[in-house]
Subunit: 331 residues, 2 copies
Amino acid sequence: MVRWTFIAFALALLAWLPGSAAAQTDPLPSWNDGKTKQSLVEFVTRVITPGGKDFVLEPERIAVFDNDGTLWAEQPIYFQLAFALDRVKALAPQHPEWKSKEPFASLLKGDVKGALSGGEPAILQIVMATHAGITTEEFERTVHDWIATAKHPKTGRLYTEMVYQPMLELLRYLRANGFKTFIVSGGGIDFMRVFSEQVYGIPPEQVIGSSGKLKFELRDGKPVLVKLAEIDFIGDKAGKPVGIQRNIGRRPVLAFGNSDGDLQMLQWTAAGSGTRFMGLVHHTDAAREWAYDRQSSIGRLDRALDEAKAKGWTRVDMKRDWKVVFPFAGQ
Amino acid sequence: MVRWTFIAFALALLAWLPGSAAAQTDPLPSWNDGKTKQSLVEFVTRVITPGGKDFVLEPERIAVFDNDGTLWAEQPIYFQLAFALDRVKALAPQHPEWKSKEPFASLLKGDVKGALSGGEPAILQIVMATHAGITTEEFERTVHDWIATAKHPKTGRLYTEMVYQPMLELLRYLRANGFKTFIVSGGGIDFMRVFSEQVYGIPPEQVIGSSGKLKFELRDGKPVLVKLAEIDFIGDKAGKPVGIQRNIGRRPVLAFGNSDGDLQMLQWTAAGSGTRFMGLVHHTDAAREWAYDRQSSIGRLDRALDEAKAKGWTRVDMKRDWKVVFPFAGQ
């Protein structure tokens, strides 16, 4: 009896040890077999093998991921922009002046294309009107309520369901091997943090993104942080390595993006010493997702695609490399 | 034989489980027994006890610490300022104009007091002249070389030895109980990150501090981040809760400071729901360290001391509560 007690005890304890069971099964079941999947597994194996020339100490296993188009979809418009448009409609009764003021006037008439025809300044106006002038806590609640109910116009799914199953598996696989996973996005930091932990397993302190300035205030003795209508940081393009330095302070060993906005992050990652992994999600699947690259206004992939080819970075061909795209497709 | 193999195996596995041995011994041996130490242990116990009304999920166990005067000493001048003064001397041959330009002229004549008499603008000039115009990698190397050799003027010890042994134990005790420890300092983020991991066990991504703007550049095809002579963020006073939001995005459950510069961080922490721990290190020990508070120009503790008393925050009396101050004192 005593012997079996100890066998059971030892087995129970074994179950606590990380990776012991996972090593037996495919950690990336939604990736088709082929050179892309192989390159990921080989990279991780090299990085975690003690004594090997590419071994990386655990605290230095920093992996960074763009969000829009890399971890979740970004068509037909960035999901955060969909949130902002919905907020304009919700806030319109408090802003009668919007009826005669662009880009709000077009938007409230249902003409999204017209509203966005003003380009970046129009988008900025919409973002500031919907993301500023409230406390961080009020904003979090607003995003929380929206993300729990708003539906994607094409699939009718929650936006948090429009995440890429193969990338979720990659995030988990990296973390199971001692990597620390970060989001480095041009999207709003306070927006993404509301769902990043639940959806990606990435805690708020590992989310980097664009932000507005904040103001600390005591309101009736209670401290609040007010979101101001003033840009603090844009986490796109050259802002990505800057954001990595600001919030991480260590160069990543793996970086994944999908557009020219990720080029500098990939360059910065590639320039470190030792082994590195630079990946691009290439949207090639019009049937299961969308197909776009050099000509797209959203998620344009042009210069980064050329540089990936020239430098041998990994291009994930969505159509060829992914067995499933979205989690719901497999259900 | 088989039975003993399993006993040994089970015991070996047990050793892997966190906290099993540590629970037997005093986790805070450099703290004198008394209400301060007791309040720390009781707080941690409440936070980690599942089912208890004060239980906090592990990802939410965020603990933030000021650095200067809280984790290491700050007298007779902030250590980073000592670094900057040394750098002015080292860089003087490349700046002949400094011989006739304040605050550099006084400094180069050995008149530190005269150089600093210009107050914040003078200090800012010194900081910008020594912290900007170089890449982040060059700056890291410079700090690394300095911190490995420069000695404190009073003790003759390395600056990294001027850390508080009781606080090192507290950091370890918190981490052993699932807390994530952060530095939230008015000091320079790129300066502290060079030694934070080795000295405090706090990785660069968990260091928050003041910073200058950064510029991404390709130099002969190699990407660099150049430190610009332009302030990006001041992580002191109201900047502390802002920095916490920027880099963590979650309200701490424990905050430790030592001066009025930490007041807003303590207020922000205190205003969260559920149990919280707000601590102030009070420098009361002129014999083993320094004694200063309301009248000090460095690390002034006045308003925060009043608020701590009014609100029942924990005041650590260095003389009364700490068995040893610096690690070397116990050797």
